[in-house]
């Protein structure tokens, strides 16, 4: 008996996430999805549309607006052998559950001397770019990447949107998945048998030799566009997608930087104290004598995100900013 050959299927990032959830729910009946409006409403971004009908109310579980309680309940359920996927609508609301994430999810295993593992996956939408203003536009991945005990992933491609979830659920420890809000409508094709992918390694999304552009999540598109523009200007940029923000895949970044001798980190977070600072610090620490120029960073301007489009654009990393930063390193 031979398997039918995989065909390519046109799909979107949103559908890829949904398919990942559906697949996980089918594979393992310990898995369930819990969060605000994941059921009847279909998910605030439509990700879980149709899943309630397929899996029922127990496993597609609408919660009240009680972020701390339902995230903590996910931790408790994980302690007792379930494999919850907790959806926090957006990273902006996750602060209300941060105590549970930091002080329980990330800490219980170590603090209990190895007794209590928390096999929990938390998914949340992150990022700006849709004129949602100051309280709905944060990029706080860097904060979560600061917490020992967590694994943080940021699927930037359809393949990763489809494949990271199952791997995360197979991890015995808590994993947070950041989905950038501007990606849900991204279209592309996936093989019909697309499945789990590793969540340990960064990926080179474009090979190049003059400068390494390091990024993740929502700014991968911007960065690839910048690389194209740089190519037109005779600068051959390599683009590294971090994919996993904690633990960082230093080796992949350094391997690239040691070849190109130049690096730019692109990060939608506010510049000071963003993940880009950590990446920059690590590059300098570990490859100082390989560097031909300062490591540059392209980040969001440090302001609460304004509503008006021209102001939001001015606050967010743009292709031209990345190009300019790269040119500063090769200049």
């Amino acid at each position: 008996m031979t398997a039918a050959p995989a065909t390519a299927v046109d799909t979107t990032y949103r559908e890829a996430v949904r398919e990942a959830i559906r697949d996980a729910m089918r594979r393992d009946d310990r898995v369930f999805l819990m969060g605000e409006d994941v059921g009847r409403y279909g998910g605030c971004f439509g990700v879980s549309l149709g899943l309630l009908e397929e899996f029922g109310e127990e496993r597609i579980r609408d919660t009240p607006l009680s972020e701390s309680a339902f995230v903590g309940a996910g931790i408790g359920a994980a302690l007792a052998g379930m494999r919850p996927i907790v959806e926090i609508m957006t990273v902006n609301f996750s602060l209300l559950a941060l105590d549970q994430i930091l002080n329980n999810a990330a800490t219980l295993l170590h603090m209990s001397g190895g007794q209590l593992a928390v096999p929990l996956v938390i998914r949340m939408t992150t990022g700006a770019g849709r004129q949602l203003a100051a309280q709905h536009s944060h990029s706080l991945e860097g904060w979560y990447a600061h917490i020992p005990g967590l694994r943080i992933v940021a699927p930037a491609t359809l393949e990763d949107a489809r494949g990271m979830l199952w791997t995360a659920l197979s991890d015995p420890d808590p994993v947070i998945v950041f989905e950038h809000g501007s990606l849900y409508n991204a279209r592309g094709s996936l093989p019909s048998d697309a499945g789990p992918v590793d969540i340990d390694h960064a990926a080179v999304r474009r090979a190049g030799q003059d400068v390494t552009l390091v990024t993740y999540g929502g700014t991968l598109g911007t960065t690839l566009a910048a690389a194209e523009e740089l190519a037109g200007q005779g600068v051959d940029a390599e683009v590294v997608d971090l994919r996993t923000l904690r633990p960082l895949d230093d080796a992949a970044v350094l391997e690239s930087v040691r070849r190109t001798h130049r690096a730019v980190v692109v990060d939608e977070g506010w510049r000071s104290g963003s993940l880009s600072a950590e990446v920059s610090a690590r590059i300098t620490e570990q490859a100082f004598y390989d560097l031909d120029a300062q490591v540059e960073r392209v980040c969001s301007v440090e302001v609460p995100m304004p509503y008006a489009k021209h102001l939001e654009d001015a606050a967010l990393p743009q292709v031209t900013d990345v190009v300019a930063a790269a040119r500063r390193t090769v200049g």
Partner: protein
């Protein structure tokens, strides 16, 4: 405010919201847009009972609150357009309308995030000996948040002058109240903190106004916080992205029969306080105001991008 005045205010909100829908389709307004259609009696009745010096704390579904509070329509519309003439210089958009001069403290997009501010505004009023009532709006969904509990307890414990204005429209996005609250009688929930609380027909602007007067009087005279559960309904989707899979068309239809504007119109007609051409006149007046607001917004300038970082901190004090 006369019955006619209340009707005028409700019409201003209704037609403003309807125009916003059009402007959203035309991509003049972007981001999230939460309409107040169906709930006009709440904001209009409530605000009519407040003093101009009373602080107001609002939510992301606050166009109606802002307009009824007296924030000029021009400034609100310009805000939706992202113009510097907007009431938040175009930085806030639909969810973040502010007007310090009218003590309108916005526009908060974190559910229940405004409640602690209201408690603090009330504390300040008390410490400064000002006889203010802080009106704090929030929805049924907010009642499940921890902050709701902390704030009701604190306000009750300290007997602070907060008027909690709960807009119970039966849904938090797609989640019906019975699927979110173990105790769906929200006035009862508030009463469990020892707060005077009662339910009000939120479709009847006169009932809201009367309740608001009674509650505000009690709060202002030092009786501690009050809680009004205004039972209302949103006729439209939660936001522009909501296909409304979670409720029946029939249910919406049923509530539309209690449209607050129709209810008041009928009542005023029955009382003979609204003449034949009066409604038309009001409609015209409102349309003119909205047209002007849209025109002004269209023509208004954007904030220069160089000012992006302005107001992250206060402007340095200029010593003369």
């Amino acid at each position: 405010m006369t019955g006619r005045g209340l009707l005028h205010e409700m019409l201003r909100v209704r037609r403003f919201e309807e125009r916003c829908v059009e402007l959203y389709s035309a991509e003049r307004i972007r981001g999230f847009l939460h309409l107040y259609i169906g709930e006009e009696a709440v904001a209009v009745g409530l605000m009519s009972a407040l003093e101009p010096t009373d602080p107001v704390v609002s939510t992301y579904r606050e166009h109606g609150h802002a307009l009824a509070r007296g924030v000029p329509m021009d400034a609100v519309m310009a805000e939706m357009f992202g113009r510097v003439t907007g009431c938040s210089r175009g930085r806030g958009g639909s969810m973040h309308l502010f007007d310090a001069s009218r003590r309108f403290y916005g526009g908060n997009a974190i559910v229940a995030g405004g409640l602690p501010l209201a408690v603090g505004l009330a504390l300040a009023a008390r410490m400064q000996g000002r006889p203010e009532v802080v009106a704090c709006f929030f929805g049924d969904g907010a009642v499940a948040e921890g902050e709701f509990h902390e704030c009701l307890n604190l306000a009750a414990l300290w007997r602070l002058p907060v008027l909690f204005c709960c807009e119970n429209n039966l849904y938090a996005m797609g989640t019906a109240i019975a699927r979110a609250q173990a105790e769906t009688d929200l006035a009862l929930r508030a009463a469990s903190y020892g707060i005077v609380a009662w339910p009000v027909d939120g479709m009847d602007v006169l009932a809201v106004r009367e309740a608001a007067h009674r509650a505000a009087d009690s709060v202002r005279s030092g009786g501690g916080p009050c809680f009004l559960e205004m039972r209302t309904y949103r006729f439209r989707a939660h936001s522009m992205y909501d296909p409304e899979r979670y409720r029946d068309k029939a249910e919406v239809q049923e509530w539309r029969r209690r449209d607050p504007i129709t209810l008041l119109t009928d009542r005023l007609r029955a009382e003979d306080s609204l003449g034949d051409g009066d409604l038309d006149d009001l409609e015209k007046e409102v349309a003119t105001e909205i047209d002007a607001a849209v025109a002004a917004a269209e023509g208004a300038p954007l904030e220069p991008a160089e000012d992006l970082t302005r107001f992250v901190h206060s402007d340095p004090v200029r010593t003369p």
